[in-house]
């Protein structure tokens, strides 16, 4: 029973990270209408920036986090200006392949410049853990979960309580209508895409502390984020939270209870994406 509760808690903590990545992607898909296949690469950039800050400048990843978020926001905004903006009205296929190409480019650029090795960030609190009764919770994991919850809360406040957020939701609902009532759609897109990338980068910083930084670290998270937003339904940000918890917990359960879980848990996860997509299509969600 203890093992079961421990597994649930671990899954729940993991889901904070997933929700962070997925809500960024949901923003890009929902507001800008772009399925960003390069989303994981912004996470990778965040992870490497955190590693570089800690290895070369001796700055703790959690301190450099705001700077990294702003930097990647700028990178995302730049990406929007030079590429995404030009395919907004193009066929969906072109948009998809453009971001796909961007992802390949960024990932392999990192591979070329930094090599395929994983880089770890060492922090004094890395091995710390907290005891709650019989449960033990890793310090960085709890920290990551708290930070994710905080940021997601902030995102909700921005989306539902500010003018910018209202504009974003208006654009998401109807691009032309928003334009007609005088919203600068281009600016909203730029900000939404930048924030989307920044959220991925923040998740990347956390990943660098929890796991490691490597050129291919982003892909897995991007795929999981896709699974989550598909489960949640496009543009449904509240659904993203539930879907993240579902994914995190079910993954933890597989890892704990399926023999040889390491190897097979990937297959289970991909089968889950596959199943979700197919089921949704047959329920006529589109």
């Amino acid at each position: 029973m203890d093992l079961f509760v421990q597994t649930l808690v671990n899954g729940l903590l993991q889901s904070g990270l997933y929700a962070l990545v997925a809500s960024g992607l949901a923003l890009a898909v929902g507001v800008v209408g772009i399925v960003n296949f390069a989303h994981g690469e912004y996470l990778m950039i965040g992870a490497f920036l955190a590693w570089a800050g800690s290895a070369f400048l001796g700055v703790d990843p959690l301190l450099s986090l705001p700077v990294i978020a702003v930097a990647v926001f700028a990178i995302g905004a730049l990406t929007y200006r030079v590429s995404i903006r030009h395919v907004l009205l193009a066929p969906e296929l072109n948009q998809m392949l453009l971001t796909f190409g961007l992802g390949i480019l960024l990932q392999n650029l990192a591979l070329m410049l930094l090599g395929g090795n994983t880089r770890t960030v060492t922090t004094p609190y890395q091995a710390s853990s907290m005891q709650l009764g019989d449960l033990s919770v890793g310090g960085p994991k709890a920290l990551a979960f708290g930070l994710a919850a905080l940021l997601l809360g902030a995102l909700y406040v921005v989306l539902y309580r500010t003018t910018l957020g209202r504009q974003m939701r208006a654009v998401a609902q109807n691009r032309r209508g928003a334009q007609l009532i005088g919203i600068n759609v281009d600016r909203v897109y730029l900000i939404a895409f930048g924030v989307s990338c920044a959220l991925a980068a923040v998740a990347g910083v956390l990943v660098s502390v929890l796991l490691f930084a490597s050129p291919t670290v982003g892909l897995v998270f991007a795929l999981k984020a896709f699974a989550i937003i598909v489960m949640a339904g496009l543009g449904n940000l509240t659904g993203v939270l539930w879907a993240s918890v579902l994914l995190g917990v079910s993954e933890a359960l597989v890892q704990t209870y399926v023999p040889g879980g390491g190897g097979w848990s990937d297959a289970v996860f991909f089968l889950m994406i596959f199943g979700t997509l197919v089921l949704r299509s047959y329920r006529g969600a589109r």
Binding site: F100, G101, F274, Y282
Partner: protein, 329 residues
Amino acid sequence: MSARNVEGGTPVRTAPRREITPGAALPLLGFLLLAALFPFLPLGSRAEFLLQIAFFTLVAGIMALSWDILARSGQVSLAHAAFYGLGAYGYALLLKAGLPWLLAMPVAALLAGGVSLILGAVTMRLSGMYFAIATLAFTEVVRTIIQNLPESVAGGATGLLVPALLGGNSRAQYFLAWGLLAFTVLVSLAVRLTRLHFAFAAIRQGEETARVLGVSIVRFKLLAFFISSSLAALAGVLYAGKTFFINPLETFSLANSIAPLTTSIFGGLYTTLGPVLGAGVLRVAEELLHNSVKNGYLVVYGLVLMLSILWLPRGLMGLRRGRKHGGDL
């Protein structure tokens, strides 16, 4: 999603339909002839190496062209690596079971084609990004299964040894690859010049409309999957027989799905010449860059993909001015 999104943001222009003249096949024939003559060129001391590059260029051509055939029916797949790998593994396992190679090759292709029917049936109703992600996930599932099967069955994560094709005679191997590329070109032309062309194009440009017109969506989508995947599996057989060692990570690598997609788009989507031409140009560029850009040659693929989408959406084929939509092969 509206039907317009699939094919173009703007309504399809009604260009005057041009008849396909026999002359349209000339560049294609020229290309194949050139490829056939390649081994007879005075290649000097690096002949073996150059022949190997040429061999894999032909394999890339088969992959790109077969991917394009599937794309013509509106299905932009990221599962091409899966069928490439299934071809390679199917061939290796059939040889291990004692089949002669001449039989193992088509059987492996048909088996991969059979598996593709399952994938095609399941993903029938998905489109756009959903289809792409589902096919990507499928590839990973296949890879994980092969990797986790007992080592005595499929070699596990370590991989499998495969006997060399045609006793390792590289010139003979080259002609086999050439023959299979020619076969792929013939299949592609058959798709282009028969009613299949109209059925695929109708499905791609708007499924609802196609259905109203009486096109059997299920049948044609599955047919596209079967043709495309069987051909990809043949490419996989060539790969396995040439490298005589296959492992799950490399064989099912995402790169094997990306390369045909990029090649087709760079060369010119929905044509026969485009993907073949694209394979020639990109593979040669890749080899030239291999010395200066070490392990990240995929950077080039990413860049080419982005630049083609932004500035060359109809690929190399779009560069030939004066030819409107209908007349290209």
